[in-house]
């Protein structure tokens, strides 16, 4: 499938995607971008210009915790992982999203 345009990504969805990806295990910025692309089968491509500000915003709110650590081939990288607060936030955002998606789906399914 062709990648979606940046503007197509709903406002606020990026935070949800990041939280979900990070929930799978500690990961660095590059990894997050890669995983979002891979899991969405290349539909969603995160721009670095929005990824890093978002990461810092989430960290600032206390949803993500970050620390510098060593990755493969002895590179220093900043690893993000989900905090307890972030886990709660993810749960609530997931629920909101599912309700929204469900509701939108219902409307689209409505018969004319």
């Amino acid at each position: 499938m062709a990648p979606l345009e940046k503007t197509d990504l709903l406002q606020g969805t990026l935070d949800l995607l990041i939280l979900k990806v990070v929930a799978l295990g500690p990961v660095h910025g590059y990894g997050i971008a890669q995983r979002i692309r891979q899991i969405s089968q290349d539909v969603l491509q995160v721009q670095q210009g929005s990824l890093y500000p978002a990461l810092h915003r989430l960290e600032k709110r206390g949803w993500l915790a970050a620390e510098w650590g060593e990755s493969e081939n002895a590179r220093q990288a900043k690893f993000y992982r989900l905090s307890a607060k972030g886990r709660r936030q993810l749960a609530s955002e997931e629920q909101t999203w599912n309700r929204l998606a469900g509701a939108v789906g219902l409307i689209l399914l409505a018969e004319q």
């Binding site: 660095h28 590059y30 670095q48 210009g49 810092h56 915003r57 600032k60 590179r75 990288a77 900043k78």
Partner: protein, 862 residues
């Protein structure tokens, strides 16, 4: 950590994060088969503008920071706008409270806390010598002993000393009196100060027979040479010498005191500096780093014992004392300052409780708003924070205004207390400003926390209903407790101020035993060098005295080594008729005065006659206390006295008369045994005391002119009425009393405002109740009485508590009181009376207002 530093570190971290990202992207492309160069380029392009990413991250952080601050500021601003009168009252109260507190703090900071303005000032010590048997109060040190100490005391890096001398400098059109500090070798090295222009004395200049040289003070450089940078090529002309200027000292260097114009070296190897019983130098030493004061004192004591064995007379008779230089410079003023600081902190506490009471009243009126916030889901913590931030906003404004008050106060302090030590070092600086702001925040928390906690204590359940109609508001004892505390604190301050005022008043009306009015004092320049020909000095001074006495308008004139009533004494042990009775030592303050002194000062002669002056005999007059204590009263005339310690080179004096007791050593000192030793030239620049017919200052010009015709090459200085000297001597007492009185009156005013405000608030809240009572037939006088009683009961309790606390604390004033007991019943009664009267007045207005409630109107409003 400073916020900008954190910002820089964060930027670096983001850089690393980006670099890591690009590196991984590159690695991926290489894995896909691109050449490294190609892969790197591709990765960079794909990542896009690094700076933009960094900027976006920066904004995230800035925004979070700014958002919170902005929100609170906005809330505080809304609050301010909503209640401008209340806000202004709080800001003004705090501005005064914090300002006064910061002003006193700035003085403490500059005078007591800061080290002296010398590098490693804490290593500098003042060193005294004392006569082991207390026979001589003199602590000045002979040049030879100073050099021995410097050589032998291993705990000191260097020891030096100074004494002052007055000179007439004659390179200008008129002779100018300048003050010279004659300094022992190493003076600047020990103090650790270098000239701003030129150089220190050279080794040759510190030796006898070496070249002459002076260092001049910054002020003298400006005044006399208008800051001429070529001043080092100029010379000073002093008597017959022409002395080159080798250096200019920094502006801040005013040691030993502000008067010093020039420093010259005093050579220890001079032929006239060899006697070990000379008393010349005030000695200062710099301890080696890491040495404690007690180690240095012990070391010096050992050195002195060693010198005692080497020179039994006089060194075996001497002990040494070491004191930090700072302590000796500031003297007792620290005690006054801490007292003021305590008072001003009490004042701030009163302001605090005042504001707390105001806030209690206000937040009580906001129950509704708080209930709404709760119901909208705010937590108690966030509501408390919001209420607090309003107060913090107010108190920060108050604090900033307070800095202004403190700055003005620092200026006032310079004018008021010019004479006090280090007064010129008091000014506003960052430490003081920071202190003010810290004060503001502490105040806000102190007075804002309780009302905020109280207002939110009911929690979400309080409901909107409670605030509604038809209820008599709940009693709030905390408000009354706060009022009581204010009254207590105000009573404490007022009692302190009252005691000091009474003491100062007593001091002003004390019978000094001499008459200070219509006496002009002045000095005529002279220098220690003249003492090599004493008869000439005596002749010169007597000629000047005779010339002054012949002047129309002058009733009498005399000289004295020390001014009467200005604190200072020279107590020595005395041999009566050549004998010392070891069981009964004779100690007296020896005051050298010219014949005619007693008449000039109007000290009555009780027996015998006035003394006469001759070159080879010495007459003395003793005061009544001396005669009664040591010589059985009027039989004293005819006995001979001599200095027990220096009898070998000081003359025997014969008692010619007995004078009335006078408070020569200070108006606050009870008369002690005095021996007036009759000699008009105790030093080359004695104090002249001139009794005039009218206003002494009106005669000043005529007197100056007369002295100028008699002594054209000498300058006349320190011309002022004796009463001025007496009042200057008590500057510290007066400033202290004045400030404490101002603080106390402010405290009383604040307490009254608090009382008035609280009672008014109460009356307003209970209007409905009063309306009902009136409607049911209560008398208006009953209503007034009830409210009045309620207010006055609190005041009476606070007053009683305040008096008990004041009685307990009044011993802090010991040593500052003169002629008044710390438990003076008159003062305590007056304070209680004053407080009750003022408080009654403050209560009256709201109480009477309550009685004029129109029942119909109030009840209909519901």
């Amino acid at each position: 950590m400073a916020w900008w530093k954190r910002g820089v570190q964060r930027d670096e971290a983001v850089d690393r994060e980006i670099a890591d990202h690009v590196a991984r992207l590159t690695a991926e492309y290489i894995a896909q088969g691109m050449t490294p160069g190609e892969a790197r380029r591709r990765a960079s392009v794909e990542f896009g503008g690094r700076e933009q990413v960094k900027q976006a991250v920066r904004e995230v952080h800035l925004w979070a920071l700014g958002e919170a601050a902005l929100f609170q500021l906005e809330a505080a601003w809304r609050f301010l706008r909503k209640a401008p009168g209340f806000s202004l009252a709080v800001i003004l109260t705090l501005a005064l409270g914090i300002g006064a507190n910061s002003a006193v703090f700035s003085a403490i900071d500059a005078i007591v806390l800061r080290p002296l303005a010398f590098p490693h000032g804490d290593e500098l010590m003042r060193i005294y010598q004392h006569d082991a048997h207390g026979r001589d109060a003199n602590t000045f040190v002979a040049p030879q002993r100073l050099e021995d100490w410097n050589r032998l005391a291993t705990t000191f890096a260097g020891i030096t000393g100074y004494y002052k001398d007055d000179l007439s400098e004659m390179s200008g059109p008129l002779p100018e009196k300048i003050t010279e500090a004659l300094v022992a070798p190493r003076f600047l090295t020990v103090l650790g100060v270098a000239p701003v222009l030129g150089r220190n004395f050279s080794a040759e200049e510190e030796h006898w027979g070496g070249p002459n040289a002076v260092l001049i003070s910054y002020a003298f450089w400006q005044r006399r040479f208008h800051g001429d940078p070529e001043v080092l090529s100029r010379k000073l002309r002093i008597s017959s010498y022409t002395i080159p200027i080798v250096g200019v000292m920094p502006r801040r260097f005013v040691y030993p005191d502000r008067d010093v114009d020039v420093w010259a070296s005093s050579a220890p190897d001079a032929p006239f500096a060899q006697r070990r019983d000379e008393t010349w130098f005030s000695v200062i030493g710099r301890m080696k780093p890491g040495v404690t004061v007690s180690e240095a004192a012990a070391d010096l004591a050992t050195v002195q014992q060693q010198l005692g064995r080497q020179y039994p007379k006089p060194d075996a008779e001497l002990t040494t004392e070491v004191q930090p230089l700072k302590a000796t410079v500031i003297g007792d003023i620290g005690k006054s300052l801490w007292l003021l600081y305590g008072s001003v902190s009490l004042l701030l506490l009163i302001a605090c409780s005042n504001i707390a009471a105001l806030l209690l009243a206000r937040t009580a009126g906001r129950e509704h708003e708080i209930a709404i916030r709760y119901s909208l889901g705010a937590s108690r913590c966030s509501i408390v924070l919001q209420l607090l931030s309003e107060v913090v906003g107010l108190s920060l404004l108050g604090g900033v205004a307070g800095i202004g008050v403190a700055a003005a106060a620092a200026k006032g302090f310079h004018l008021l207390a010019e004479q006090l030590p280090r007064a010129n070092e008091v000014h506003l600086n960052w430490a003081v400003a920071g202190y003010s702001l810290a004060c503001a925040v502490a105040t806000a928390v102190l007075c804002g926390l309780y009302p905020a906690l109280r207002a939110t204590r009911l929690g979400p359940a309080s409901g909107l209903a409670a605030g509604s109609r038809g209820q008599v508001s709940s009693r709030n004892p905390m408000q009354w407790i706060l009022v009581g505390v204010q009254v207590t604190l105000a009573v404490m301050l007022l009692t302190g101020a009252g005691l000091l005022l009474r003491s100062l008043n007593t001091l002003g009306h004390v019978d000094a035993g001499f008459d200070a009015s219509h006496v002009l004092t002045l000095q005529v320049s002279g220098s220690w060098g003249e003492t090599s020909n004493m008869p000439a000095v005596v002749q010169r001074i007597d000629r000047t005295l005779d010339g002054l006495r012949a002047l129309p308008g002058v009733e009498a004139a005399a000289t004295a080594a020390m001014l009467p009533g200005v604190p200072g004494k020279y107590q020595v042990e005395i041999k009566v008729d050549g004998r010392i009775d070891p069981t009964r030592r004779v100690l007296a303050d020896v005051r050298t005065v010219s014949p005619g002194y007693l008449a000039t000062m109007r000290i009555p002669l009780l027996a015998g006659g006035d003394c006469k002056q001759a070159l080879n005999t010495l007459d003395v007059v003793v005061n009544r206390t001396f005669a009664n204590l040591y010589l059985g009263g009027s039989g004293a005339v005819g006995h001979t006295l001599e200095n027990a310690l220096y009898s070998d080179f000081q003359m025997k004096g014969t008692i010619r008369g007995i004078a009335g007791d006078a408070r020569e050593e200070g108006l606050n000192e009870a008369p002690m045994p005095i021996v007036y030793s009759c000699f008009s030239a105790p030093n080359p620049f004695p104090n002249y005391l001139i009794r005039t017919n009218g206003d002494p200052m009106a005669m000043a010009d005529a007197i100056r002119k007369r002295i100028h015709t008699l002594e054209p090459s000498r300058s006349v200085y320190a011309v002022m009425p004796l009463e001025q000297h007496l009042s200057d001597a008590f500057t510290e007492d007066r400033v202290r009393t004045m400030l404490l009185t101002v603080f106390a009156l402010s405290a009383v005013a604040l307490a009254c405002i608090g009382l008035y405000g609280t009672l008014s608030y109460l009356v307003r809240r209970r209007q409905r109740e009063v309306g009902v009572r009136l409607a049911l037939g209560a008398m208006r006088t009953q209503i007034v009485g009830r409210f009045l009683l309620q207010g006055l009961r609190v005041v009476a309790l606070g007053c009683a508590a305040g008096i008990v606390a004041a009685a307990g604390l009044s011993r802090l004033l010991r040593g500052m009181l003169f002629g008044v007991s710390p438990l003076d019943p008159f003062t305590y009664a007056s304070v209680a009376g004053l407080i009750l009267a003022v408080a009654a007045l403050a209560c009256c207005v709201p109480a009477v207002r309550a009685a004029f409630v129109e029942p119909v109107k109030v009840l209909r409003e519901e």
